[in-house]
């Protein structure tokens, strides 16, 4: 494999390219537009952070990529282009994941094999009636040509790599016998079992305490350095984003409102939503008990999406007659910096 540096891979072709993705949930009460024309790229060896509040579509985006949408979710538009290792070494092929049936053998080999997923809640993402070892071995034997003993040895080795003490004993334990931090480590071990090229981590540390969170984040960056894998990190925590991400996508009500390198998001945010979000977080470095700047109102109900820009009812820079009538589009305003706002480009 070529020696990738960060700039090399950023300049090269993306590993995963999501183009204009729209995912809808047609329900009896109406259609929920969970993802509305989202576009972003994931590069090798880099971490893409997706940040947003609950209901912004960040998890549905991840689930759309893997074809594990809950019913009745449906990808109605867009492309998910994935650059896959070819059969013979060196060659690569680009596949549109939306063109496959989620249950097809093609998708099943990509899911878990090439793109792995770490769930938010480690308690519910393991089966309580099978041992950790059995579940790990199942994943290994499904994607790789291996016997039982070999798979078991590999499973124990994976648990050791993610820093679980006494891995051989843990193989025979059940998920409820592990603490939250160990369970999340086991989850990551399972995701790594087939050396995926992309790891999608959906709020991997939200259910954990801060000291455990620090351990897991350290583990993930260490593994990324070793494997050169791409990480797509989904979280609502801007602190975690600042620490982990190279490039950040900010989502609101299913749309990408801003995307930029991590430093620009925090030091040169251009969308009013990004700016307000950054001002509303209490900081550990702050002094005194000032009032926090807060965003008025709350995230609209999915059945009552506002017309025009999705953020217009809460926006401090709202322009009557523009923001509430037409929808802004994501357009570049700088190097790798894109914003979807009429303040930056007219209607």
């Amino acid at each position: 494999m070529a020696n990738y540096t960060q700039t090399d891979s950023a300049a090269g072709a993306p590993l995963l390219s999501v183009r204009n993705l729209s995912t809808h949930f047609p329900l009896d009460e109406g259609t929920v537009i969970a993802v509305d024309g989202a576009s972003f790229d994931v590069f090798e060896g880099q971490t893409l952070g997706i940040v947003g509040e609950s209901g912004c579509g960040k998890s549905v985006t991840a689930r759309s990529i893997l074809g594990i949408l809950d019913k009745p979710g449906l990808i109605v538009d867009g492309e998910i282009l994935f650059r896959r290792r070819g059969r013979n070494s060196g060659s690569e092929e680009v596949l549109d994941l939306t063109s496959f049936d989620p249950d097809s053998s093609e998708m099943r080999s990509i899911r878990g094999g090439e793109i792995a997923y770490v769930f938010q809640e480690p308690m519910t993402s393991f089966s309580p009636v099978h041992t950790i070892g059995n579940q790990l071995m199942e994943a290994i034997m499904l994607h790789q040509d291996m016997g039982k003993d070999e798979a078991r040895a590999m499973g124990a080795d994976l648990l050791r790599r993610v820093g679980i003490p006494l891995p051989d004993r843990r193989m025979d334990e059940y998920s409820f016998q592990l603490s939250g931090g160990l369970r999340q480590r086991a989850m990551i071990a399972m995701a790594l079992s087939c050396s995926p090229r992309i790891l999608i981590a959906d709020e991997p540390t939200t259910a954990l305490d801060v000291t455990t969170q620090a351990q897991i984040l350290d583990l993930m960056s260490g593994l990324q350095e070793d494997n050169e894998m791409a990480i797509m990190l989904i979280t609502h925590d801007l602190g975690v984003i600042a620490e982990m991400a190279d490039y950040v996508v900010v989502m609101y009500l299913g749309q990408v409102v801003e995307s930029a390198p991590v430093d620009d998001i925090f030091h040169n945010p251009q969308h009013p939503y990004t700016q307000a979000l950054l001002q509303s977080i209490p900081r550990i470095q702050s002094t005194g008990q000032d009032r926090l700047a807060s965003i008025t109102g709350s995230v609209p109900h999915p059945y009552a999406r506002p017309r025009g820009c999705p953020f217009n009812p809460r926006c401090p820079a709202f322009m009557l007659g523009t923001c509430d009538t037409s929808e802004p589009r994501l357009q570049p305003i700088g190097t790798r910096h894109e914003v979807s706002c009429f303040l930056h480009h007219g209607a």
Partner: protein, 336 residues
């Protein structure tokens, strides 16, 4: 804060839960959820109680409201009429009259409101229980809704019509119904989105200055606790390890656990490069804690005395308490 202004004083509070086994439910051990905890809260002050899951912060909060009966210890509450009541041992009848002075705000705004009751019923229920005149009830509920920033017209609606932040406002209105003096808030903003969290924190701070409320603010998020608290107490495996005024605790932590906790909080600025203390191992088991200081297996500064003797909470600097044998000699990094 001088002694005369203390609203609540907790002395040597313990809550042990028995571990029972077998048909006869024989007691085979005890979980020391709260183990010899002492602190006080001054009038109109906010004490933040922080710690990781399972450290006993919620149990401490529930003992103060007598939602669970403490195993031993004193919880002295200075009542409105000036008398001091020990909540830990007060008889039922006395507790009933005390309860309107201390109220609770719950963590989950979705499960703490009955979906079959309207706002009028939810916010008005404390009024019904305390025998508030029926004719004035509706006016009082309307006033309470206005105070927390909701429209009084919402009174006939059910909780499902409201977002998380609005529901937490309803919970706050219910807690305020009987003009309490002490409010115990157990993780009041941890279930909310960041943009809404700021609204609720601002509301709680406004209410405090308007109504002179005293808060015990239980949370795991250090940046939130820092924002709202005057003083902060840090718990680890059922014990207080450090207690200090907010600025002192963050600038010069005196317990290695506090320092590790502070350095674990991710900073929302990609330009900061910080030396992070990553703790090894797991939190001690409260049913079978290690000898000596409970933190010693994870502490990089542990010496022989830490493995044999339990440190007591002592005053290291004025008003700055820590339970560490080496608190005087260690120079721990804080957050500036």
């Amino acid at each position: 804060m001088n002694d005369g202004q203390r609203l609540l004083e907790v002395n040597n509070l313990r809550k042990h839960f028995p571990i029972q086994h077998g048909l006869l439910r024989r007691e085979i051990g005890r979980i020391r959820a709260v183990d010899d905890v002492s602190f006080y809260i001054g009038e109109s002050e906010t004490l933040g109680l922080v710690g990781e899951s399972g450290c006993g912060k919620t149990t401490t909060a529930r003992c103060i409201l007598r939602a669970v009966d403490p195993t031993s210890g004193e919880i002295l509450f200075r009542s409105e009429d000036g008398s001091t009541v020990d909540v830990a041992t007060a008889p039922r009848a006395q507790m009933r009259s005390l309860r309107h002075e201390m109220q609770m705000i719950f963590q989950d705004p979705f499960s703490s409101l009955n979906p079959r009751m309207t706002l009028m019923d939810i916010v008005g229920e404390p009024l019904v229980i305390s025998g508030y005149p029926r004719s004035e009830r509706e006016d009082r509920v309307a006033e309470l809704l206005r105070v927390v920033g909701l429209r009084p017209e919402f009174m006939r609606r059910f909780p499902h019509a409201f977002s998380g932040g609005q529901r937490q406002r309803i919970g706050i209105a219910r807690a305020l119904a009987l003009n309490p003096r002490l409010i115990v808030a157990d993780e009041p903003v941890s279930a909310l989105d960041v943009s809404v969290q700021a609204q609720v924190l601002n509301l709680m701070m406004d209410l405090q200055s308007e109504l002179g409320l005293t808060y015990l603010f239980v949370a795991h998020d250090l940046s939130v606790v820092k924002h709202i608290s005057d003083r902060i107490a840090v718990m680890y495996v059922g014990k207080l390890v450090e207690m200090a005024p907010t600025d002192a605790l963050f600038a010069t932590p005196r317990h290695p656990y506090t320092a590790a906790l502070l350095s674990s909080v991710p900073d929302p600025d990609p330009r900061t490069v910080r030396e992070r203390v990553v703790l090894q191992g797991e939190v001690a088991n409260p049913a079978n804690p290690p000898a000596g200081c409970y933190f010693n297996p994870r502490c990089e500064y542990a010496t022989d005395i830490c493995r044999s003797e339990t440190p007591q909470l002592r005053e290291i600097a004025p008003n700055h308490f820590a339970a560490c044998h080496r608190a005087d000699e260690l120079a721990l990094a804080g957050v500036v």
